[in-house]
Subunit: 331 residues, 2 copies
């Protein structure tokens, strides 16, 4: 053990549709070290599993703590998980359908691995130590490549009958709307995710020749959600308009979540939440306009852990597993 | 006590947007007698309270049981209720906003009164003694003048932070869609309620001169959801088409409920559910097409208590109150 750092750390991994964020986390949920990698577009689950293994090993040997002090790994993926088997059942953004992700990672890492949906992970972090602490009813949406979500209702994380609940990103808000990667039409994710933000930015780049977005597009850059957020932060009006449009559509989904769950708070995390009030402002306005009283008074706030929420929540999973559960790899 | 009939009966009242259904119910949830009245369109809550009082008195004195054997009343209304005070907080179809409905009825009836949202009542009936019996995760929608709903998740009826949860009827499924009575746009209720069915029937009556709907409209009859359902049962193709259209839109909302709650079953009750498979068939097909696996495999069924679900559930409320609670009127 390195002096001054608590032993028995875990590594939290948030494997999103286009990136991997991993963190070395202590039992007080302090992030001691982190790594960030773009996830290679791949149809081979092997590539993604190897990426997770590489990043876990890098953090384990980063010198912040002794490698033997890393005692577990938590992983969040944008998939519906069969918790009994650790198999990914249905995944939109990754080639994981039917893959026993948990056991594969346990075998390779020789460490206990806890696996859950990335939205549930993020909700867990906020509920345990963030903006939803002490709430019996709270909703979190993570806006990134897709839209993940987790919900606490009546003091319990909602999981549904087979662990596939609270897919708020695949709630239809425009039944005749654009195709979603999940094959449905008009899902919130198809309208208000980081992917949708990039698409809206590209569209506006075509309409606003003087904008920074247009200059970047003209220089051959692919306009993504990250591009739009960065340019909005630098003051580009077209980029801000794209965020306002996507934030307003996100607000439709938030209004639905208010009417459905009547929570104490709705939290917004994920990569796009880095845009802060440029996204949250229009989302809040639209949600309040559409939700019924008294739910229209529900607070809409940035997640405490921001884009880290999924990673920290994955660490919470691992800490819980080590404290309470018998990991399957020991069986 | 009348021979052969259990004593200690209650009266369940389902006061909908356009009708009142009341039933004398025994502790085994058998409906011994019932009354049905159209609710007068009125902006005066007094009219509706008096209607409830009249029907409760009629059932109490119907001779099925001794009046003294009626020991409590349960009432379901399409309103968000503050359970601490028994006040209706937000009501779309009735002039009850801010009215202390529970206490007003207790004073007039001199009986303990339990009050809840009509969707919660219906879910309670199905959960306790109907198609959701034994389920830890179940969704019910009642399709009538509006769309009510109740949800059991993780073994608990979801109520939200202030009792206003699971307003699935006011879930937006068409963000730019038609105005809803709640002032929002494109709510499920605006597209797939009995009111929407009447509107669709009237529209088709204009397009199909040979149809029964057109003949009725031509004779000056107002085409309501009930008209459409009746004519569909008699074989009118225009009426069946209206049900198919509305059922398909209901299916969008059911798909959302599947993705959000991953329940064991989705139940459809309310007046329009009298249309049976003419409504449920297209709803089921659309829901399965849109929901993600594994939730797309969730059963979609008629509520056991059909259009009685809200009334029977209101009786369950009263029985629970008498068994477990201290009604406010005793305080």
């Amino acid at each position: 053990m390195v002096a001054g750092v608590p032993e028995d750390c875990v590594i939290g991994v948030d494997l999103g549709g286009t990136k991997l964020l991993a963190g070395l986390v202590n039992p007080e949920l302090r992030v001691l070290e982190r790594t960030y990698r773009l996830a290679p577009p791949s149809n081979d689950p092997e590539d993604l599993l190897q990426l997770v293994v590489d990043e876990v090993r890098e953090l384990t040997h980063s010198g912040i703590v002794a490698p033997s002090d890393v005692v577990g790994v938590g992983v969040g993926i944008p998939s519906l998980i069969d918790q009994a088997t650790g198999v990914a059942v249905s995944t939109v953004h990754q080639p994981f359908d039917g893959v026993p992700v948990r056991d594969e990672l346990q075998d390779r890492l020789q460490l206990p691995v806890a696996l859950d949906n990335d939205g549930n992970c993020a909700m867990l972090a906020e509920w345990r130590a963030g903006a939803a602490r002490g709430c019996d009813d709270a909703v979190l949406m993570t806006v990134g490549t897709g839209i993940g979500s987790g919900v606490v209702a009546g003091g319990t994380l909602i999981r549904g009958s087979t662990g596939a609940a609270t897919e708020l990103g695949h709630m239809v808000v425009d039944f005749d709307g654009p195709l979603c990667p999940c094959t449905n039409r008009g899902c919130l994710e198809a309208l208000a995710s980081g992917t949708a933000l990039g698409r809206e930015g590209a569209r506006l780049a075509g309409q606003r020749p003087g904008s920074a977005l247009a200059r970047l597009a003209g220089a051959g850059e692919v306009i993504t959600g990250v591009t739009v957020t960065e340019q909005a932060q630098l003051g580009d009006r077209a980029a801000r308009e794209a965020l306002e449009r996507v934030g307003t559509l996100l607000g439709v989904g938030i209004a639905n979540a208010m009417n459905i769950f009547n929570p104490e708070v709705v939290l917004i995390g994920g990569g796009v939440s880095a845009a802060g009030e440029m996204l949250l402002g229009p989302a809040r306005t639209e949600a309040r306009r559409r939700a019924r009283p008294p739910s229209n008074g529900v607070r809409v706030e940035a997640a405490t852990f921001g884009a880290d929420a999924g990673m920290v929540g994955a660490a919470v999973l691992a800490l819980d597993l080590l404290r309470d559960g018998t990991p399957a790899w020991q069986g």
